[in-house]
Symmetry: D2
Subunit: 398 residues, 4 copies
């Protein structure tokens, strides 16, 4: 299908779209992505991080086309991959990943929401009109099927776009990756995306870039604080309001902020603090690896109770002590490298990849946050004592 329009993008220059793609873009479902920030409240740390799921989705579609060209796929396959790239984030709710936990609690997920939108709204009509199968698109988005690894895997085009895009807006150099060299290094072998040996460095640099972006942007300590505040506010708000899943998934960032501003009590106070950037501070921190694994899991499950217990003990209002226990995602890099002796996993041929797997765990930190006005409640506690104290508290709740 011929391009009928071009859209300007700071990352990829000109993104050309054809009739089918333009119809999809013009649906209210897709336009909604203009009002869902790619990185939620990250802009409170990196002021220029205001980009949206809309531009990112266009970017992924564009990369899908480049990769399809490189792999010399048939026109039909190329089209299907581009559409999957375009729609891969269609089910994201207000504040993207920040609201994923809410969806989980409601017994749903944004992936499920994507499938629903693709199969039940006017998007499925458009796909049908042009002879595309909505189920096939959904499968692709979930990383399954012949080309699934292109859309969703350790080195998918989703990551390629957001690493570059986010680093561009954050104004840090870490996300710069050699897009062309990675794409030129890719091959399809039995539905698996495989990297040619000569492109190992390019892929290593992607892994490194991801690692550095996690450390400096995605897991920036202030960002973790804001997110903890926002999540707790949202939790409380949904408890208070008894909002249905159906209503929740309709909202965009504007709706949600507006609702929280007009809420009462705790959610309203949190939203006001976030709007004014009057944030909680770190009252305590400890390397996550020092906390025993079993304990960690228990803490994750009971985090709200633990928080309230600590708050009560310290004479702090409930909700004004927040604990933050980062999950250790064991990121085994499932990337296949083509070598003289057949396909190998990247950590068999690259000590850098092995190191990166380990390095992620090393820097995770368990934290307790509280507003500045309550920091004084903690005076008199030296760090050592406070830690013991905390341990005891935690103990009580397990």
């Amino acid at each position: 299908m011929k391009s009928i329009k071009t859209i300007r993008d700071p990352i990829h220059g000109t993104i050309a779209v054809n009739e089918l793609e333009l119809e999809l873009i013009d649906t209210p479902q897709f336009q909604r992505l203009r009002r869902i920030k790619q990185n939620g409240l990250c802009f409170l740390i990196y002021p220029a991080m205001n980009s949206t799921r809309f531009e990112h989705s266009l970017g992924v579609m564009h990369l899908a086309g480049l990769l399809a060209d490189h792999l010399e796929l048939e026109d039909d396959d190329r089209q299907i991959i581009r559409v999957a790239g375009l729609l891969h984030d269609i089910g994201h709710c207000a504040f993207s990943h920040t609201s994923d936990d809410v969806l989980t609690k409601m017994g749903h997920s944004h992936e499920e929401n994507s499938t629903r939108i693709i199969s039940e709204t006017e998007i499925s009509d458009i796909l049908g009109k042009y002879g595309l199968n909505d189920r096939e698109i959904s499968e692709l988005i979930n990383g399954r099927g012949k080309f699934g690894k292109i859309i969703s895997s350790e080195i998918d085009i989703d990551k390629m776009d957001y690493l570059i895009r986010d680093s561009y807006y954050a104004g840090v150099a870490y996300g710069v990756i050699d897009l062309e060299r990675i794409i030129y290094g890719m091959k399809l072998v039995n539905n698996e995306l495989v990297i040619k040996r000569g492109s190992l460095e390019a892929v290593e640099s992607l892994l490194i870039s991801r690692n550095l972006m996690y450390q400096t942007v995605y897991r920036h300590h202030t960002k973790r604080i804001v997110e903890a505040m926002f999540k707790r506010a949202l939790d409380k708000f949904l408890d208070d309001e008894d909002m249905s899943y159906e209503d929740f998934i309709q909202m965009d960032d504007i709706d949600l902020v507006s609702r929280l501003r007009n809420a009462k009590g705790y959610p309203r106070d949190m939203m006001k603090r976030i709007d004014r950037r009057e944030l909680f501070k770190i009252a305590f921190q400890e390397g996550i690896s020092l906390i025993e694994e079993g304990l960690r899991e228990e803490m994750l499950k009971n985090s709200r109770e633990i928080e309230e217990g600590i708050a009560d003990d310290l004479g702090v209002d409930r909700g004004y002590i927040l604990i933050d226990i980062p999950e250790i995602k064991m990121s085994e890099f499932r990337i296949l490298i083509e070598s003289d002796d057949g396909l190998k996993l990247i950590n068999e041929v690259s000590s850098l990849a092995r190191a990166l797997e380990k390095a992620e765990e090393e820097k995770l930190v368990f934290c307790i946050y509280t507003p500045p006005e309550y920091m004084k409640n903690l005076k008199g506690f030296d760090v050592e004592k406070y830690m013991e104290f905390t341990q005891t508290k935690l103990g009580r709740f397990l």
Copy 2:
């Protein structure tokens, strides 16, 4: 004063702030700028144009520092200019320039609002605490006083920042200017910002950049349509709601969109169309220079009545015919160039500057917009006839 924090910016890299500046940034008044888009609804045309007055203000402060260093100003003067740069947009209301007309109707302006915020809120307390005079800052922001031209003139640092910044996000090359060369070419002569002869080219390139950005971004025809829709919605909303100036200036973009979404009738419909990017189309256009100047002014004054008259005649609901008459700002470039024979105006030494003054007028277009569903009402009218018809209509209302 020593820097105590750095903020990351995609345009200028690292922006260092001192204690005074950080206190100003941390006020709710300044934090509010995070939620006022630099270019209103421009993101509907250039999807990545989501930047805010917040980051722009930091950028202008940063440039103020660079320029002060170059001019070898005293520390106190440097500080005052940086603060003026930081606060120059503090009075902007939701959707920035789009709401300026609303302010005018209410008998106010964003400049006035800036002065108020600087002299009446906690910002004036902070300024006082550090020995800065709020009136002096306000004067600077309005382009007056010893260093006024730095903040507000034909080649001020405001323009330097937004041209680069906007072109960065739009993803067009037009805004790229040689910042350093312009700054290196500046001199203060009797409170006037003067350009050294050797930097004429750098300044010409700024004028050109401005010209190209106007043509391709700021006056993009779709942007004009969206703006016309939004302004009419806002007008109607304020008529309906009878909102006070005091309430209006408290709002940010989120508040305003949220209010319009929850409004009734016309404003709600317009907001829905904008959210879904279901925009009006150009039903008619004509080079502005072909319309007699006197007529043009009358049209500007009576635009709402004219619109309604046309709508009635064409059987279109009122509000669904919008006319757009761009103002001709005679942009005489008041830029002084230092030459062997003393100071000269730039258009005395540069035919390029002269050409740019003229070129702006050349491309202005008068337009009538209507939704696609009403375009059929205009069928049967060939362009010539329709123009005559329009002229007659207009005549009736003058």
Copy 3:
């Protein structure tokens, strides 16, 4: 033909080449371009301007491919245009344009040399082997034939590449152009390259970029001095050595510098001064427009005699007074714009284009250069007196 290799380029990223192109690149004739600087001695002013005709030629080939794709040309036409782009500078001699005058004196030109190389060396064998006609390629390079305007005209891909490339290395922002938008705006109408109305701004920005690059880089006053010194050295060297055209065109930059270093007398001294950057200074300058046109032409023809006359009178060794009379190239912009009333020349629709034509003349300056040690010979002469003196001198030789 399939790509079989990629070459890394800072401007265009990855340049893919096929078998035919790789064979052409691997000829000694083409490899020689690695050792011919794109901008001769410009690196003495902009230290990073060390790029070569080799990388530029690859860049032009790459742009040819992009344009062919956009114009949806047949594979054969695409290939022929890419080859013409690749070979368009193949005939350049050592120090490119600086030695063009030498070629003229010898009764030849670099265009002729290109044609010769394309039709007589192993390059013609390779073209033949792949079924390409060497004459067709030569025609294209000279701007003739169906696609000639693509390679050589006011808005050709040659210019697009060198403006971006040179500004990248110079480190100035002026050469930044919106490549994609220009290419997207192009159309072929009866063998003419025509610009769609909507891309007028993109083309204007190209003209502006060219204008600014001329002013700040290509005609930088120090560059003019170095070039005048080098040209006079080369003239004298060729007089002394009686080198043949055949020998001259074999040389690259290294050969020529090496020969001049090992020469005697004046050429050796000039080369030593250039190597040490001990340059002549401007002893006199005057806007070119103030000099009567007829006089100017006479001066151009008799420049060497005039120089020697002045030198004798001032007690300066011959060769140590150099005069520099820039030619006024009337750059009528022959660019066709598609409009509602058919094709129009750009200066009919763009006052900016008209202004640029005029602006070029405005800044041309006639100069006299001499080494610092002879500047004292001119002491006692105030500028006015010196000008009269010069005029009289000039008079005597006409």
Copy 4:
């Protein structure tokens, strides 16, 4: 001292120089660096890598100034560091590192040459005139003294400049580092350059960048081939010509190429092949770690004899079999990180740093090169057999 001139640089924008610095730049010794390529023959692989030691030296001086500003050094110290940055490569000979082995054979080094130039030429006069001590500068350049680590250490400003600069010209993204964040993270503690804990990521990214640049650029296999060819040609040329150290260090790249072109026999043939890019190919390769360490050292010492032995056996002319045994530089990263428990080495706190130390060894490869025309001599040998054969051959010479 005030800036009196600015020089344009693509990497750092505008580099300002004062009177002292300008005088140093204007010496023939420093101007010579304009004609010594930063990366020797690397341009045969990355066509745009034509940058020189001249621009790099300016860049290092510029970074020295930025770092001195950040560390809030006294004016005198700032000046001395800038001069050391400017002059740190002054002793480099033609083709930089490629000719370092030649200097070693002659019993000298480029460091020694730097010291000589700084203390014995007009450069020492200029330093004296402005009250700077040439010995102090030389000490700094060799990494000694109070600020030595700034100029020469694992994270010196030399590396910061060349990584960014080389990646810019190579057109790869790997060299992009966050200059400002690294500089902001530095501290001087007892003459040691120490990194604040919060900047660990920025320094890790520098190490990674270095690692990737080594793999893809500095140790690119074709670059190693060209270098092996050039070194052998140079060896033979110097044997034939009996050139003195004094003569050798005067030459720039142009002189050396010119001499090789005009030489006889082997050096001339090699130079011709390099000029035409008719390069040797890899006839054999093996991971260096598989070769026993003792054996490796022996091979390095006897490489010429081994080459000739293999050549004789295979019926190849001597000089047309080249072996390449990369040295394993154990790059223990001597970088100090400030932590709560005092200073620590980076590999105590960063598993990434540890991994990078190991990763370098992993990819080193031992190779045998020969021209394409001799590849046929190796037919019939399957890789396994050939390896045994080689091992035996090698054995014979040890």
